[in-house]
Protein backbone atom coordinates (compact mmCIF):
# COMPACT_ATOMS: atom_id res chain seq x y z
CA UNK A 1 0.00 0.00 0.00
CA UNK A 2 1.46 3.37 -1.01
CA UNK A 3 1.16 5.99 1.70
CA UNK A 4 1.38 9.66 0.81
CA UNK A 5 2.62 12.40 3.10
CA UNK A 6 -0.04 13.50 5.58
CA UNK A 7 -2.86 15.67 4.36
CA UNK A 8 -4.49 18.23 6.65
CA UNK A 9 -8.18 19.10 6.86
CA UNK A 10 -9.02 22.02 4.53
CA UNK A 11 -9.83 24.39 7.40
CA UNK A 12 -6.54 23.65 9.15
CA UNK A 13 -4.71 23.96 5.86
CA UNK A 14 -6.18 27.45 5.46
CA UNK A 15 -5.29 28.42 9.04
CA UNK A 16 -1.73 27.18 8.58
CA UNK A 17 -1.16 28.77 5.17
CA UNK A 18 1.78 31.19 4.78
CA UNK A 19 2.14 33.17 8.01
CA UNK A 20 -0.01 30.77 10.07
CA UNK A 21 1.26 29.35 13.39
CA UNK A 22 2.84 26.06 12.33
CA UNK A 23 4.85 25.50 15.54
CA UNK A 24 3.76 27.03 18.86
CA UNK A 25 5.57 26.71 22.19
CA UNK A 26 3.43 27.99 25.06
CA UNK A 27 5.24 28.46 28.39
CA UNK A 28 7.26 25.29 28.04
CA UNK A 29 9.30 24.07 31.02
CA UNK A 30 11.80 21.24 31.05
CA UNK A 31 14.27 20.00 33.65
CA UNK A 32 16.49 16.92 33.88
CA UNK A 33 16.52 16.01 37.59
CA UNK A 34 17.68 19.19 39.35
CA UNK A 35 19.00 20.87 36.20
CA UNK A 36 16.54 23.28 34.62
CA UNK A 37 16.90 23.33 30.82
CA UNK A 38 13.97 25.51 29.71
CA UNK A 39 11.83 27.92 31.74
CA UNK A 40 8.58 29.36 30.42
CA UNK A 41 9.72 29.32 26.79
CA UNK A 42 7.09 30.64 24.38
CA UNK A 43 7.41 31.37 20.67
CA UNK A 44 5.54 30.87 17.41
CA UNK A 45 7.02 29.77 14.09
CA UNK A 46 4.92 31.02 11.21
CA UNK A 47 4.51 28.98 8.05
CA UNK A 48 7.24 29.75 5.52
CA UNK A 49 9.30 31.65 8.09
CA UNK A 50 12.56 30.79 9.85
CA UNK A 51 13.35 30.80 13.57
CA UNK A 52 17.03 30.93 14.40
CA UNK A 53 18.03 29.89 17.92
CA UNK A 54 21.28 31.25 19.28
CA UNK A 55 22.87 30.71 22.65
CA UNK A 56 25.81 29.24 24.48
CA UNK A 57 26.36 25.48 24.66
CA UNK A 58 23.89 23.91 27.07
CA UNK A 59 21.43 26.81 26.75
CA UNK A 60 18.67 24.43 25.58
CA UNK A 61 18.74 25.12 21.82
CA UNK A 62 18.84 21.52 20.62
CA UNK A 63 16.33 20.56 23.31
CA UNK A 64 13.77 22.80 21.63
CA UNK A 65 14.09 20.83 18.39
CA UNK A 66 13.73 17.53 20.24
CA UNK A 67 10.62 18.84 21.98
CA UNK A 68 9.12 19.97 18.67
CA UNK A 69 9.75 16.51 17.26
CA UNK A 70 8.31 14.78 20.32
CA UNK A 71 11.62 13.05 21.14
CA UNK A 72 11.36 14.68 24.58
CA UNK A 73 8.27 15.58 26.60
CA UNK A 74 8.02 18.91 28.42
CA UNK A 75 7.43 19.05 32.18
CA UNK A 76 4.99 21.92 31.70
CA UNK A 77 3.41 24.09 29.01
CA UNK A 78 1.95 23.21 25.64
CA UNK A 79 3.48 22.48 22.23
CA UNK A 80 1.51 22.64 18.99
CA UNK A 81 2.88 21.33 15.70
CA UNK A 82 0.87 21.53 12.51
CA UNK A 83 -2.22 22.47 14.51
CA UNK A 84 -2.02 19.49 16.88
CA UNK A 85 -1.07 19.56 20.55
CA UNK A 86 1.79 17.07 20.78
CA UNK A 87 2.96 17.31 24.41
CA UNK A 88 0.49 14.67 25.64
CA UNK A 89 0.74 12.34 22.65
CA UNK A 90 2.01 8.78 22.84
CA UNK A 91 4.72 7.44 20.49
CA UNK A 92 2.23 6.08 17.95
CA UNK A 93 0.41 9.41 17.69
CA UNK A 94 3.74 11.24 17.42
CA UNK A 95 4.76 9.06 14.47
CA UNK A 96 1.88 10.58 12.52
CA UNK A 97 2.92 14.13 13.47
CA UNK A 98 6.52 13.41 12.46
CA UNK A 99 5.36 12.58 8.94
CA UNK A 100 5.33 16.32 8.29
CA UNK A 101 8.65 17.08 10.02
CA UNK A 102 12.21 16.58 8.92
CA UNK A 103 15.26 16.95 11.10
CA UNK A 104 18.92 17.41 10.28
CA UNK A 105 20.98 16.18 13.23
CA UNK A 106 24.21 17.74 14.44
CA UNK A 107 26.58 15.18 12.92
CA UNK A 108 24.15 14.09 10.21
CA UNK A 109 23.18 10.87 12.05
CA UNK A 110 23.23 8.92 8.78
CA UNK A 111 22.63 5.18 9.11
CA UNK A 112 26.14 3.87 8.61
CA UNK A 113 25.06 0.43 7.38
CA UNK A 114 23.01 1.92 4.52
CA UNK A 115 24.13 3.57 1.27
CA UNK A 116 23.41 7.22 0.50
CA UNK A 117 20.45 6.11 -1.64
CA UNK A 118 19.01 3.97 1.19
CA UNK A 119 19.60 6.72 3.74
CA UNK A 120 17.92 9.42 1.68
CA UNK A 121 15.07 7.18 0.61
CA UNK A 122 14.67 5.51 4.02
CA UNK A 123 11.29 7.04 4.80
CA UNK A 124 10.01 6.49 1.26
CA UNK A 125 11.10 2.84 1.09
CA UNK A 126 10.41 1.76 4.68
CA UNK A 127 7.60 3.90 6.03
CA UNK A 128 5.67 5.36 3.09
CA UNK A 129 6.25 2.25 0.96
CA UNK A 130 6.50 4.11 -2.31
CA UNK A 131 7.06 1.98 -5.42
CA UNK A 132 10.80 1.50 -5.99
CA UNK A 133 10.89 3.55 -9.23
CA UNK A 134 9.03 6.48 -7.72
CA UNK A 135 11.14 6.44 -4.56
CA UNK A 136 14.38 6.20 -6.54
CA UNK A 137 13.25 9.11 -8.70
CA UNK A 138 12.64 11.26 -5.62
CA UNK A 139 15.98 10.21 -4.08
CA UNK A 140 17.81 11.26 -7.25
CA UNK A 141 15.83 14.51 -7.33
CA UNK A 142 16.73 15.54 -3.76
CA UNK A 143 20.35 14.44 -4.14
CA UNK A 144 20.46 16.61 -7.27
CA UNK A 145 19.02 19.46 -5.19
CA UNK A 146 21.96 19.24 -2.76
CA UNK A 147 24.43 18.52 -5.57
CA UNK A 148 25.40 15.00 -4.54
CA UNK A 149 23.77 12.83 -7.20
CA UNK A 150 27.10 11.22 -8.12
CA UNK A 151 27.51 9.86 -4.55
CA UNK A 152 24.22 7.94 -4.56
CA UNK A 153 25.77 4.48 -4.15
CA UNK A 154 28.49 5.43 -1.67
CA UNK A 155 28.46 4.52 2.01
CA UNK A 156 28.33 7.38 4.55
CA UNK A 157 31.87 6.51 5.72
CA UNK A 158 33.13 7.40 2.23
CA UNK A 159 31.79 10.96 2.42
CA UNK A 160 33.34 14.13 3.83
CA UNK A 161 31.76 15.92 6.79
CA UNK A 162 30.07 18.49 4.56
CA UNK A 163 28.74 15.85 2.18
CA UNK A 164 27.29 13.93 5.12
CA UNK A 165 25.41 17.04 6.29
CA UNK A 166 24.07 17.61 2.79
CA UNK A 167 22.96 13.97 2.56
CA UNK A 168 21.27 14.48 5.95
CA UNK A 169 19.45 17.52 4.52
CA UNK A 170 18.43 15.45 1.48
CA UNK A 171 17.12 12.70 3.77
CA UNK A 172 15.15 15.17 5.86
CA UNK A 173 13.52 16.74 2.78
CA UNK A 174 12.90 13.54 0.78
CA UNK A 175 9.31 13.03 1.97
CA UNK A 176 8.52 16.73 1.37
CA UNK A 177 7.86 17.77 4.98
CA UNK A 178 6.36 21.19 5.65
CA UNK A 179 8.76 21.82 8.54
CA UNK A 180 12.52 21.27 8.74
CA UNK A 181 14.53 21.40 11.95
CA UNK A 182 18.29 21.95 11.71
CA UNK A 183 20.47 21.12 14.71
CA UNK A 184 23.78 22.95 14.24
CA UNK A 185 24.11 21.78 10.63
CA UNK A 186 27.40 23.62 10.01
CA UNK A 187 29.30 22.85 13.22
CA UNK A 188 32.81 21.60 12.47
CA UNK A 189 32.68 22.41 8.76
CA UNK A 190 35.02 24.69 6.81
CA UNK A 191 33.65 28.12 5.75
CA UNK A 192 33.06 27.14 2.10
CA UNK A 193 31.12 24.00 3.05
CA UNK A 194 29.20 26.01 5.66
CA UNK A 195 28.11 28.39 2.91
CA UNK A 196 26.94 25.45 0.76
CA UNK A 197 24.86 24.10 3.65
CA UNK A 198 23.45 27.60 4.37
CA UNK A 199 22.45 27.92 0.73
CA UNK A 200 20.60 24.60 0.91
CA UNK A 201 18.63 25.87 3.91
CA UNK A 202 17.72 29.10 2.09
CA UNK A 203 16.81 27.18 -1.09
CA UNK A 204 14.49 24.84 0.80
CA UNK A 205 12.78 27.75 2.53
CA UNK A 206 12.40 30.01 -0.50
CA UNK A 207 11.96 27.52 -3.34
CA UNK A 208 10.15 24.68 -1.56
CA UNK A 209 8.21 26.78 0.98
CA UNK A 210 9.53 24.84 3.96
CA UNK A 211 9.19 26.41 7.43
CA UNK A 212 12.47 26.08 9.30
CA UNK A 213 13.92 26.14 12.78
CA UNK A 214 17.69 26.56 12.80
CA UNK A 215 19.77 26.01 15.89
CA UNK A 216 23.32 27.27 15.60
CA UNK A 217 26.07 29.10 17.38
CA UNK A 218 27.69 30.14 14.11
CA UNK A 219 26.61 33.75 13.69
CA UNK A 220 27.84 34.00 10.12
CA UNK A 221 25.54 31.16 9.10
CA UNK A 222 22.63 32.55 11.08
CA UNK A 223 22.89 35.98 9.42
CA UNK A 224 23.37 34.44 5.96
CA UNK A 225 20.15 32.42 6.31
CA UNK A 226 18.28 35.41 7.74
CA UNK A 227 19.44 38.00 5.24
CA UNK A 228 19.53 36.12 1.94
CA UNK A 229 16.83 34.93 -0.42
CA UNK A 230 16.98 32.31 -3.16
CA UNK A 231 15.32 32.73 -6.53
CA UNK A 232 15.22 30.48 -9.56
CA UNK A 233 15.81 32.11 -12.93
CA UNK A 234 15.91 30.04 -16.11
CA UNK A 235 16.55 26.93 -14.05
CA UNK A 236 19.51 28.44 -12.17
CA UNK A 237 19.27 29.27 -8.48
CA UNK A 238 20.68 32.63 -7.42
CA UNK A 239 21.13 34.08 -3.93
CA UNK A 240 20.70 37.76 -3.22
CA UNK A 241 20.31 40.03 -0.23
CA UNK A 242 16.77 39.72 1.13
CA UNK A 243 14.51 42.76 1.07
CA UNK A 244 13.15 44.11 4.37
CA UNK A 245 9.90 42.15 4.23
CA UNK A 246 11.75 38.89 3.49
CA UNK A 247 14.32 39.67 6.17
CA UNK A 248 11.56 40.05 8.76
CA UNK A 249 10.45 36.48 8.06
CA UNK A 250 13.60 35.22 9.79
CA UNK A 251 13.51 35.81 13.52
CA UNK A 252 16.28 35.28 16.02
CA UNK A 253 15.75 33.91 19.51
CA UNK A 254 18.64 34.04 21.96
CA UNK A 255 18.45 31.68 24.93
CA UNK A 256 20.19 32.35 28.23
CA UNK A 257 19.86 30.10 31.29
CA UNK A 258 16.87 28.34 29.76
CA UNK A 259 14.89 31.56 29.16
CA UNK A 260 14.34 33.62 26.04
CA UNK A 261 16.77 36.52 26.39
CA UNK A 262 16.01 38.17 23.04
CA UNK A 263 13.55 37.74 20.20
CA UNK A 264 13.57 39.81 17.01
CA UNK A 265 14.89 40.18 13.47
CA UNK A 266 18.51 40.59 12.38
CA UNK A 267 18.66 44.38 12.63
CA UNK A 268 16.94 44.34 16.04
CA UNK A 269 19.51 41.77 17.17
CA UNK A 270 22.37 44.03 16.14
CA UNK A 271 20.78 47.04 17.91
CA UNK A 272 20.12 45.03 21.09
CA UNK A 273 23.68 43.69 21.09
CA UNK A 274 25.00 47.24 21.19
CA UNK A 275 23.50 47.80 24.67
CA UNK A 276 23.36 44.27 26.14
CA UNK A 277 26.70 42.98 27.50
CA UNK A 278 25.71 39.28 27.24
CA UNK A 279 24.63 39.60 23.63
CA UNK A 280 27.62 41.82 22.92
CA UNK A 281 29.95 39.11 24.21
CA UNK A 282 28.12 36.49 22.17
CA UNK A 283 28.08 38.49 18.93
CA UNK A 284 31.61 39.83 19.15
Amino acid sequence: MVKEARTRPALLDEALAFGGPIIVFDQVDLAFDEKVILRQVSFTLQTGHTKIFLGASGAGKSTILRLALGLLKPDGGRIFVNGEQIDGMNEDQLMAVRADLGMVFQEGALFDSLTVRENVGYKLFEELQWPIDKANGRVEEVLGFVGLQQFIDRMPSELSGGQRRRVAIARAMAAKPRILLYDEPTTGLDPITCLTVDEEIVKLRDLEGVSSVLVTHQLRDAFFVAEHAATRRNGDVTFEKADREKGDQAEFIMLKDGRIHFEGNASELRRAAAVDPYMQSFLS
Binding site: R98, M103, F105, A109, D112, E127
Partner: protein, 257 residues
Protein backbone atom coordinates in the same frame (compact mmCIF):
# COMPACT_ATOMS: atom_id res chain seq x y z
CA UNK B 1 26.66 4.57 53.27
CA UNK B 2 22.85 4.46 53.58
CA UNK B 3 22.64 7.07 50.87
CA UNK B 4 24.73 4.95 48.52
CA UNK B 5 22.61 1.87 49.21
CA UNK B 6 19.49 3.93 48.51
CA UNK B 7 20.96 5.23 45.26
CA UNK B 8 22.00 1.74 44.19
CA UNK B 9 18.54 0.35 45.02
CA UNK B 10 16.83 3.10 43.06
CA UNK B 11 19.08 2.50 40.05
CA UNK B 12 18.45 -1.27 40.25
CA UNK B 13 14.67 -0.81 40.45
CA UNK B 14 14.82 1.62 37.51
CA UNK B 15 16.78 -0.90 35.42
CA UNK B 16 14.25 -3.65 36.18
CA UNK B 17 11.35 -1.30 35.40
CA UNK B 18 12.89 -0.29 32.06
CA UNK B 19 13.68 -3.91 31.19
CA UNK B 20 10.11 -5.01 31.90
CA UNK B 21 8.85 -2.05 29.86
CA UNK B 22 11.06 -3.13 26.96
CA UNK B 23 9.65 -6.66 27.17
CA UNK B 24 6.11 -5.27 27.07
CA UNK B 25 6.94 -3.06 24.08
CA UNK B 26 8.48 -6.02 22.24
CA UNK B 27 5.40 -8.14 23.00
CA UNK B 28 3.19 -5.43 21.54
CA UNK B 29 5.46 -4.95 18.51
CA UNK B 30 5.34 -8.69 17.80
CA UNK B 31 1.56 -8.75 17.38
CA UNK B 32 0.73 -5.33 15.89
CA UNK B 33 1.81 -3.76 12.58
CA UNK B 34 4.15 -2.60 11.20
CA UNK B 35 6.36 -5.69 11.27
CA UNK B 36 9.69 -5.35 9.47
CA UNK B 37 9.94 -8.84 7.93
CA UNK B 38 13.15 -8.09 6.00
CA UNK B 39 14.92 -7.12 9.21
CA UNK B 40 13.72 -10.32 10.89
CA UNK B 41 15.19 -12.41 8.06
CA UNK B 42 18.45 -10.44 8.26
CA UNK B 43 18.63 -11.14 12.00
CA UNK B 44 17.95 -14.85 11.44
CA UNK B 45 21.04 -14.82 9.28
CA UNK B 46 23.10 -12.67 11.64
CA UNK B 47 22.19 -14.44 14.88
CA UNK B 48 21.56 -17.96 13.57
CA UNK B 49 24.02 -18.53 10.74
CA UNK B 50 26.54 -16.13 12.26
CA UNK B 51 26.72 -18.07 15.53
CA UNK B 52 26.80 -21.49 13.92
CA UNK B 53 30.58 -21.99 13.80
CA UNK B 54 31.25 -21.00 17.40
CA UNK B 55 28.31 -23.03 18.72
CA UNK B 56 29.29 -26.14 16.72
CA UNK B 57 32.91 -25.95 17.84
CA UNK B 58 31.86 -25.50 21.47
CA UNK B 59 29.43 -28.44 21.20
CA UNK B 60 31.99 -30.71 19.49
CA UNK B 61 34.76 -30.20 22.03
CA UNK B 62 32.36 -30.38 24.98
CA UNK B 63 31.09 -33.75 23.77
CA UNK B 64 34.67 -34.94 23.25
CA UNK B 65 35.94 -33.87 26.66
CA UNK B 66 32.84 -35.23 28.36
CA UNK B 67 33.47 -38.62 26.72
CA UNK B 68 37.13 -38.52 27.74
CA UNK B 69 36.44 -37.78 31.39
CA UNK B 70 33.39 -39.95 31.86
CA UNK B 71 34.92 -42.77 29.79
CA UNK B 72 37.95 -42.95 32.08
CA UNK B 73 35.79 -43.14 35.19
CA UNK B 74 33.30 -45.63 33.76
CA UNK B 75 36.15 -47.79 32.45
CA UNK B 76 37.25 -48.47 36.05
CA UNK B 77 33.86 -50.11 36.66
CA UNK B 78 33.83 -51.86 33.31
CA UNK B 79 30.96 -49.67 32.21
CA UNK B 80 32.48 -47.74 29.30
CA UNK B 81 29.61 -48.87 27.08
CA UNK B 82 27.45 -46.46 29.13
CA UNK B 83 29.34 -43.34 27.94
CA UNK B 84 26.67 -42.66 25.31
CA UNK B 85 23.91 -42.48 27.96
CA UNK B 86 25.86 -39.99 30.02
CA UNK B 87 26.67 -37.82 27.05
CA UNK B 88 23.14 -37.75 25.64
CA UNK B 89 21.51 -37.01 29.00
CA UNK B 90 23.90 -34.19 29.89
CA UNK B 91 24.18 -32.66 26.40
CA UNK B 92 20.46 -32.65 25.62
CA UNK B 93 19.21 -31.37 28.96
CA UNK B 94 21.98 -29.09 30.09
CA UNK B 95 25.23 -28.62 28.22
CA UNK B 96 23.78 -28.11 24.73
CA UNK B 97 21.41 -25.29 25.73
CA UNK B 98 23.69 -23.63 28.30
CA UNK B 99 26.90 -23.73 26.29
CA UNK B 100 25.10 -22.48 23.18
CA UNK B 101 23.58 -19.75 25.36
CA UNK B 102 26.97 -18.70 26.70
CA UNK B 103 28.50 -18.70 23.22
CA UNK B 104 25.59 -16.67 21.81
CA UNK B 105 25.69 -14.23 24.71
CA UNK B 106 29.39 -13.61 23.99
CA UNK B 107 28.90 -13.16 20.27
CA UNK B 108 25.37 -11.84 19.84
CA UNK B 109 24.63 -10.11 23.15
CA UNK B 110 27.78 -8.01 22.96
CA UNK B 111 27.24 -7.28 19.26
CA UNK B 112 23.68 -6.09 19.82
CA UNK B 113 24.68 -3.87 22.75
CA UNK B 114 27.58 -2.36 20.75
CA UNK B 115 25.48 -1.79 17.63
CA UNK B 116 22.48 -0.24 19.39
CA UNK B 117 24.73 1.71 21.75
CA UNK B 118 26.67 3.23 18.83
CA UNK B 119 23.42 4.07 17.06
CA UNK B 120 22.17 5.77 20.23
CA UNK B 121 25.23 7.92 20.88
CA UNK B 122 25.47 8.99 17.23
CA UNK B 123 21.79 10.03 17.20
CA UNK B 124 20.83 7.33 14.67
CA UNK B 125 18.09 6.08 17.02
CA UNK B 126 16.73 9.64 17.31
CA UNK B 127 16.96 9.93 13.50
CA UNK B 128 14.94 6.72 13.14
CA UNK B 129 12.22 8.15 15.38
CA UNK B 130 12.34 11.45 13.50
CA UNK B 131 11.79 9.53 10.25
CA UNK B 132 8.68 7.92 11.73
CA UNK B 133 10.14 4.53 12.68
CA UNK B 134 9.71 2.98 16.11
CA UNK B 135 13.18 1.65 17.08
CA UNK B 136 11.59 -1.13 19.14
CA UNK B 137 9.79 -2.46 16.06
CA UNK B 138 12.68 -1.91 13.66
CA UNK B 139 15.68 -2.87 15.78
CA UNK B 140 14.59 -4.81 18.88
CA UNK B 141 11.68 -6.98 17.75
CA UNK B 142 13.54 -8.58 14.79
CA UNK B 143 16.50 -9.41 17.05
CA UNK B 144 14.25 -10.90 19.72
CA UNK B 145 12.33 -12.95 17.14
CA UNK B 146 15.61 -14.25 15.70
CA UNK B 147 17.02 -14.99 19.17
CA UNK B 148 13.93 -16.90 20.29
CA UNK B 149 13.67 -18.95 17.09
CA UNK B 150 17.36 -19.52 16.38
CA UNK B 151 18.54 -20.47 19.87
CA UNK B 152 16.66 -23.83 19.95
CA UNK B 153 18.08 -24.70 16.51
CA UNK B 154 21.60 -23.77 17.56
CA UNK B 155 21.19 -25.75 20.76
CA UNK B 156 19.95 -28.84 18.90
CA UNK B 157 22.90 -28.61 16.51
CA UNK B 158 25.37 -28.16 19.40
CA UNK B 159 23.86 -31.15 21.14
CA UNK B 160 24.03 -33.25 17.98
CA UNK B 161 27.62 -32.36 17.23
CA UNK B 162 28.48 -32.94 20.90
CA UNK B 163 27.19 -36.49 20.59
CA UNK B 164 29.27 -36.93 17.45
CA UNK B 165 32.33 -35.64 19.36
CA UNK B 166 31.58 -38.13 22.13
CA UNK B 167 31.26 -40.91 19.57
CA UNK B 168 34.66 -40.09 18.03
CA UNK B 169 36.40 -40.26 21.41
CA UNK B 170 34.47 -43.31 22.62
CA UNK B 171 35.24 -45.28 19.50
CA UNK B 172 38.87 -44.19 19.03
CA UNK B 173 39.99 -43.88 22.66
CA UNK B 174 37.94 -46.50 24.45
CA UNK B 175 37.41 -48.87 21.52
CA UNK B 176 33.64 -49.11 22.06
CA UNK B 177 31.69 -50.22 18.99
CA UNK B 178 29.70 -47.49 17.21
CA UNK B 179 26.42 -49.39 17.50
CA UNK B 180 26.95 -49.82 21.26
CA UNK B 181 27.59 -46.08 21.63
CA UNK B 182 24.55 -44.96 19.63
CA UNK B 183 22.28 -47.51 21.29
CA UNK B 184 23.44 -46.19 24.63
CA UNK B 185 22.77 -42.61 23.47
CA UNK B 186 19.17 -43.46 22.59
CA UNK B 187 18.68 -45.43 25.82
CA UNK B 188 19.77 -42.43 27.86
CA UNK B 189 17.12 -40.16 26.35
CA UNK B 190 13.58 -39.57 27.60
CA UNK B 191 10.91 -37.48 25.94
CA UNK B 192 10.98 -35.01 28.85
CA UNK B 193 14.70 -34.48 28.27
CA UNK B 194 14.10 -33.63 24.63
CA UNK B 195 11.37 -31.15 25.55
CA UNK B 196 13.69 -29.57 28.06
CA UNK B 197 16.41 -29.30 25.41
CA UNK B 198 14.01 -27.50 23.09
CA UNK B 199 12.13 -25.24 25.52
CA UNK B 200 15.10 -24.06 27.58
CA UNK B 201 16.96 -22.36 24.67
CA UNK B 202 13.81 -20.37 23.81
CA UNK B 203 14.03 -18.64 27.19
CA UNK B 204 17.80 -18.33 26.94
CA UNK B 205 17.52 -16.70 23.49
CA UNK B 206 14.91 -14.26 24.79
CA UNK B 207 17.10 -13.41 27.78
CA UNK B 208 20.33 -12.88 25.83
CA UNK B 209 18.82 -10.70 23.12
CA UNK B 210 16.60 -8.58 25.36
CA UNK B 211 19.49 -7.91 27.75
CA UNK B 212 21.72 -6.91 24.80
CA UNK B 213 19.00 -4.58 23.46
CA UNK B 214 18.18 -3.13 26.88
CA UNK B 215 21.81 -2.40 27.71
CA UNK B 216 22.49 -0.99 24.22
CA UNK B 217 19.49 1.32 24.30
CA UNK B 218 20.48 2.69 27.72
CA UNK B 219 24.02 3.57 26.66
CA UNK B 220 25.32 6.91 27.86
CA UNK B 221 28.67 8.64 27.55
CA UNK B 222 29.85 8.38 23.94
CA UNK B 223 32.24 5.74 22.66
CA UNK B 224 33.46 4.88 26.17
CA UNK B 225 29.83 4.24 27.10
CA UNK B 226 29.50 1.87 24.13
CA UNK B 227 32.49 -0.11 25.43
CA UNK B 228 30.97 -0.26 28.90
CA UNK B 229 27.62 -1.39 27.51
CA UNK B 230 29.29 -4.15 25.52
CA UNK B 231 31.06 -5.48 28.62
CA UNK B 232 27.93 -5.19 30.72
CA UNK B 233 25.84 -7.01 28.12
CA UNK B 234 28.23 -9.99 28.04
CA UNK B 235 28.51 -10.22 31.82
CA UNK B 236 24.80 -9.72 32.51
CA UNK B 237 23.59 -12.07 29.80
CA UNK B 238 26.11 -14.79 30.73
CA UNK B 239 25.03 -14.73 34.38
CA UNK B 240 21.38 -14.53 33.30
CA UNK B 241 21.84 -17.61 31.09
CA UNK B 242 22.89 -19.67 34.12
CA UNK B 243 20.16 -18.18 36.34
CA UNK B 244 17.39 -18.63 33.75
CA UNK B 245 18.66 -22.16 33.08
CA UNK B 246 18.17 -23.01 36.77
CA UNK B 247 14.71 -21.44 36.95
CA UNK B 248 13.40 -23.04 33.75
CA UNK B 249 14.87 -26.42 34.79
CA UNK B 250 13.15 -26.18 38.18
CA UNK B 251 9.79 -25.28 36.62
CA UNK B 252 10.04 -28.03 34.00
CA UNK B 253 11.00 -30.68 36.56
CA UNK B 254 7.91 -29.74 38.57
CA UNK B 255 5.70 -29.80 35.47
CA UNK B 256 7.06 -32.82 33.58
CA UNK B 257 8.96 -35.26 35.78
Amino acid sequence: MTGKIQEWSKAAVLEVQEYVRLLAQVGRAAVTPPIYYRDIIEQFESIGIGSLTVVLLAGLFTGMVLALNSGMTLDRFGAKSMVGQLISASMVKELGPVLSGLMVSGRVGSGIAAELGSMLVTDQIAALRALGTDPIRKLVMPRVAAGVLMMPLLSILATGIGMVGGWIVTVLQFHVASTVYWTSVVQGLYMQDIWMGIIKPIFLGLTIVTIGCHVGLRTTGGTQGVGNSTKLAVVASSVAVIAVDFMVTKVMIVLMY
